[in-house]
């Protein structure tokens, strides 16, 4: 596995894990987006956006919605 592919895989795992763990109160996608804004670098968010466009089937729907909120 190349380093970039490995890094993408980690981002997918991390994003899905966030969506799976933020408190299920209110809009989960907004909470995920807020978490990504506060704790992820611009480059990591850009990579996640690219991953979403290329292969969104790996991502939970709340993550996909969160990425849309970040745009």
């Amino acid at each position: 596995m190349s380093g970039v592919v490995e890094q993408d895989a980690r981002l997918v795992v991390m994003a899905n894990q966030i969506a799976n763990n933020v408190p299920p109160v209110g809009d989960v996608s907004e909470q995920v987006a807020e978490h990504l804004r506060k704790f992820w670098t611009d480059a990591m968010r850009a990579d996640l956006e690219r991953i979403t466009e290329q292969s969104s089937d790996q991502l939970r729907e709340e993550v996909i919605a969160a990425v849309a909120l970040l745009a």
């Binding site: 380093g3 490995e6 890094q7 991390m14 763990n21 109160v25 704790f39 670098t41």
Partner: protein, 924 residues
């Protein structure tokens, strides 16, 4: 026994009622219950004594401290006689002189008369008292029965026990019991045969002794004495400073002869330790002068080259040039730095400042990433700031103590002793841990509740406890309504009351019987004062942050916040975890936990630092490593952390380090990470530092230079030099100036200065205009965030589960004698207790695999395997195995995975699915 500290003879009394007495014609008013001895000492009318010392309860055995009380017959012992209103006491009369001289003569008649050649000459209370009572001759010859030929026990690596010099005053026995709480010593025999002995009548090394040094500290003769004093002589000067091991942050007096350290003596005035110590802080300081210390800067073009010793100037220019080349070729964010929880606040602050201001990126993180980052996240969400709520002394007011995922007697031993003292006084104990840690059952301490949960199910257990609290009607409604955000409480209450959170529903998941959870919940909720103490067994999970918030919910719901005896208290692993986090080491926060996107906060730093700082968060350590493997991150400054041993999935860490163009390691030793470094910058031991550490109770303590830096430069000075070479000068003249800048820019530190710390000893932040001398207990009137925030905390199982291929769950931890990756303690005689990492395995699991006690085994996970010896243990349940990570040769973190906490990326060290097989040996 040190002779430098004033000793008032018996402990202070704390009652409000006062009594007035007259001693030798001088009036004094003291709290009721104060001994005559202490009252006299407060008047500087010191009474001769041998068996009394003010950190032990009065014993009344030596009969040297006799006094006369007007209107009363006899000559009572002043240590055991409390002052009473109107009492008139005489401490110096001809009758008392004669009695004391007679007592002293008997002691000396059975004591070697070798004062001039004795290693305690000039540092011996027996010698002092002989002088004090005017003893000039001993009428009894040494031809009678005596103990002068008693043997010497030198089994302990740090101190000797010379029975020929023992006066059987029992101070050592009482110190081991009352102060340390180990009960390793006793008085064996009767009458003339009475002698100090280990409880099992073995030598010290083979006994239960934990080498805390309390007995040595208490001994009034040369019976129990540091070998370093015997070798080097009695110290001639002293410097007060702070221990650099765990997050308790004990204050010590470093005692020296010239520039040679002779011993470390715990400081009675120390706010964290009150005169107590553990084997690491008291004795394991030899690493500071170990032959492995690197004291010259070194560079190399490639990690396959040999190191080349160079001048500081060349090393600094080499490092700066490489970092600038990386940024020119790969972008400003292609480099970053890691700060260390072993370094001072001032050293950490300048590293994060260099990264943000000189590197122009927020790619700075700290080793707290891999330990307590979930504490930062969870407590900020719920309470409003990232810090424990109490001071250590608060435990003395706890009625129920809830210990979760922590092992205080091993990892925070001095606080562990304080906790055990409270437990012996009758506080109830709940332990939530897969392992039967020492607190579960040890002399005179027994946990009433041990919830031996499956690794990875913390949130389920605490949710179940909270479910019981809510459904049984034990919520502290008044506290919640007055102090907390009621809407968030209602949402949490609805969630936690769901049947799926009941102990019965979760029993299959957690492995903890529902009835046990219910009893523990009742004990905590109905306690009066319920206090939570937790460690890395909480944070190092995929739901570490969720668990911190779940505990905060439980504490708020039961009203256990904001007064002595309660609270939510992280026991920090390393000495300055709290401080390194406070100082702005996280990539998303400036000092004082203000987000980099906060324009107001960033503006302050922009102005003060004269640069335009970034408002977007930088990379965390795992992000940096992932980006390095992807070729995007190529330069790293590592301050005092050994990520190639301490971080999980070592193969991945090594691949990342190998992929970088410039790794700069600043450390005492060529550690595992240095194998991948291009620049090695020698660091300073705690004995060479000038600055401050902040311990787990937010206590800011001074670290004073005991000896000059062996490398010739301070660590902060080196960082500033690199920053200047990068084009951003940081012209500090002293560490005090750095703290002054921290205080100017950090509201919770606004009142802190070296001057204040030198004046008052220590302060706990917040220390500012509202609290000029600090804040022992937080959230007393209101939470830092205003109202306490309840957060809904669903249990989400970790992805790391046991399988047919990896059927066991590995959990990792620490032991008393070793510290973290062992870089320091492995270079001391502490290895006599723990020379290698050992795998604890339940007998049933061992038998099923053909493994016997002491066998070599191979342990494998989905990311790697390693070998070590096995030890059969019933401290862990079947299905769970346990080991430490103190030795690089066993490489425990080769097998831990890169699973991490969802909110902070703190590694999930505490849950790794593994298999264990017999192995032929270390290298097979």
């Amino acid at each position: 026994m040190t002779i430098f500290e004033r000793d008032l003879g018996t402990p202070a009394m704390m009652g409000d009622k006062q009594v007035s007495v007259t001693i030798d014609g001088m009036p004094i008013t003291v709290p009721e219950g104060t001994s005559i001895m202490r009252a006299a000492a407060l008047l500087d009318a010191s009474i001769p004594k041998l068996c009394a010392t003010d950190n032990l309860e009065a014993f009344g055995s030596c009969r040297l401290c006799l006094v006369e009380v007007e209107g009363r017959p006899g000559t009572p012992a002043s240590c055991t006689t409390p002052c009473q209103e109107g009492m008139v006491v005489n401490t110096q009369t001809p009758r008392l002189d004669k009695l004391r001289k007679g007592v002293m003569e008997l002691y000396i008649s059975d004591h070697p008369l070798d004062c001039l050649t004795c290693s305690a000459n000039g540092d011996c209370e027996l010698q002092d008292m002989a002088g004090a009572v005017g003893l000039r001759e001993v009428r009894y010859s040494d031809e009678g029965e005596n103990h002068l030929a008693a043997s010497k026990d030198e089994s302990n690596p740090y101190f000797t026990f010379d029975a020929s010099k023992c006066i059987v005053c029992s101070r050592c026995v009482r110190a081991c019991s009352e102060v340390q709480g180990t009960f390793a010593l006793t008085i064996a025999g009767r009458g003339f045969e009475s002698a100090v002995s280990t409880a099992q009548n073995t030598d010290f090394l083979s006994s239960d002794c934990v080498s805390c040094g309390a007995c040595v500290q208490a001994c009034p003769t040369a019976t129990l004495q540091e070998k370093s004093v015997i070798d080097k002589g009695v110290p001639s000067r002293k410097v007060k400073t702070t221990c650099a091991y765990c997050g308790v942050g004990c204050s010590f007096t470093a005692e020296l002869r010239g520039d040679e350290l002779v011993r470390m003596v715990p400081d009675k005035q120390g706010g964290a330790n009150a005169g107590h110590s553990c084997v690491k802080g008291r004795f394991a300081w030899g690493y500071a002068n170990h032959e492995d210390r690197i004291t010259d800067p070194m560079i190399r073009d490639s990690i396959s080259d040999e190191w080349r010793v160079v001048s500081w100037e060349e090393a600094i220019q080499f490092a700066a040039t490489r970092l600038k080349q990386i940024q020119a070729g790969h972008g400003v964010d292609a480099i970053g730095g890691i700060t260390s929880s072993r370094c001072t606040n001032e050293e950490v602050y300048v590293v994060q400042k260099m990264v943000r201001a000189a590197f122009g990126t927020n790619n700075v993180d700290t080793c707290a990433r891999v330990c307590h980052s979930p504490t930062g996240y969870g407590l900020k969400q719920t309470f409003g700031t990232s810090a424990g709520t109490q001071d250590f002394a608060s435990v003395q007011d706890a009625d129920v103590i809830l210990v979760i995922g922590a092992n205080p007697t091993d990892a925070h031993p001095v606080f562990g002793s304080r906790m055990k003292r409270r437990l012996r006084e009758g506080a109830e104990l709940i332990v939530i841990d897969p392992r039967a840690i020492d607190l579960v059952r040890s002399p005179h301490v027994s946990a009433q509740h041990h919830l031996q949960l499956r690794p990875g199910t913390n949130v389920a257990v605490v949710n179940a406890m909270a479910h019981v609290v809510v459904t049984e009607g034990w919520v502290a409604r008044e506290f919640v309504n007055e102090r907390c955000d009621v809407e968030s409480f209602k949402a949490w209450e609805r969630f936690i009351a769901l049947p799926e959170n009941s102990p019965e529903a979760l029993e299959q998941v957690t492995g903890v019987p529902a009835t046990a959870v219910r009893r523990a919940a009742e004990a905590y909720a109905q306690a009066g004062n319920g206090a939570i103490y937790y460690g890395l067994g909480v944070t190092e999970h995929s739901q570490g942050s969720t668990m911190v918030m779940a505990m905060a919910n439980l504490a708020m719901a039961t009203g256990n916040i904001g007064r002595p005896g309660v609270g939510v208290n992280p026991l920090r692993g390393q000495n300055n975890v709290q401080g390194s986090c406070d100082m702005g080491s996280f990539p998303h926060e400036f000092a004082g936990y203000r987000h980099v996107s906060d324009d107001s906060a960033r503006g302050l730093f922009d102005t003060a630092w004269g640069v335009s700082l970034r408002g977007d968060p930088g990379m965390r350590i795992p992000n940096m490593l992932d980006a390095a493997v992807a070729g995007k991150f190529r330069g790293l400054y590592v301050q005092g952390e050994d990520i190639a041993q301490s971080d999980p999935n070592i193969h991945h860490v090594e691949a990342a380090l190998k992929a970088m163009d410039c790794v700069i390691v600043q450390d005492l030793f060529l550690n595992e990470t240095a194998r991948f470094a291009h620049v090695f910058l020698p660091g300073t031991s705690f004995l060479e530092k000038d600055g401050t550490f902040t311990n787990a109770e937010r206590r800011i303590n001074r670290v004073r230079p005991v000896v000059p830096p062996l490398s010739g430069m301070s660590e902060w000075g080196v960082t500033c030099a690199i920053s200047e070479a990068m084009g951003y000068p940081m012209p500090y003249n002293t560490a005090a100036e750095i703290m002054d800048e921290i205080a100017r820019l950090t509201p919770t530190f606004a009142g802190v200065s070296f001057g204040l710390l030198d004046e008052v000893g220590s302060v706990q932040w917040p220390c500012n205009g509202d609290a000029p001398l600090g804040t022992p207990i937080m959230h007393e009137q209101r939470f830092v965030r205003g109202e306490g925030q309840f957060v809904t905390t669903p249990y989400v199982p970790t992805d790391e589960r046991s399988t047919r291929k990896y059927p066991l769950l590995l959990t990792t931890g620490r032991i008393l004698s070793q510290y973290n990756v062992g870089a320091q303690t492995r270079r001391t005689q502490n290895t006599v207790w723990h020379a290698e990492d050992i795998l604890d395995i339940h007998a049933a699991d061992a038998e099923a695999r053909g493994v016997a006690d002491g066998d070599w085994i191979e342990i494998s996970s989905r990311v790697g395997s390693t070998r070590m010896r096995a030890r059969l243990s019933d401290d862990i349940p079947a299905g769970v195995v346990y080991t430490t990570f103190h030795h690089p040769v066993s490489g425990t973190n080769v097998i831990t995975t890169d699973n991490s906490d969802w909110a902070t990326n703190c590694p999930e060290y505490k849950v790794t699915a593994v298999e264990v097989r017999p192995s032929m040996g270390a290298g097979s």
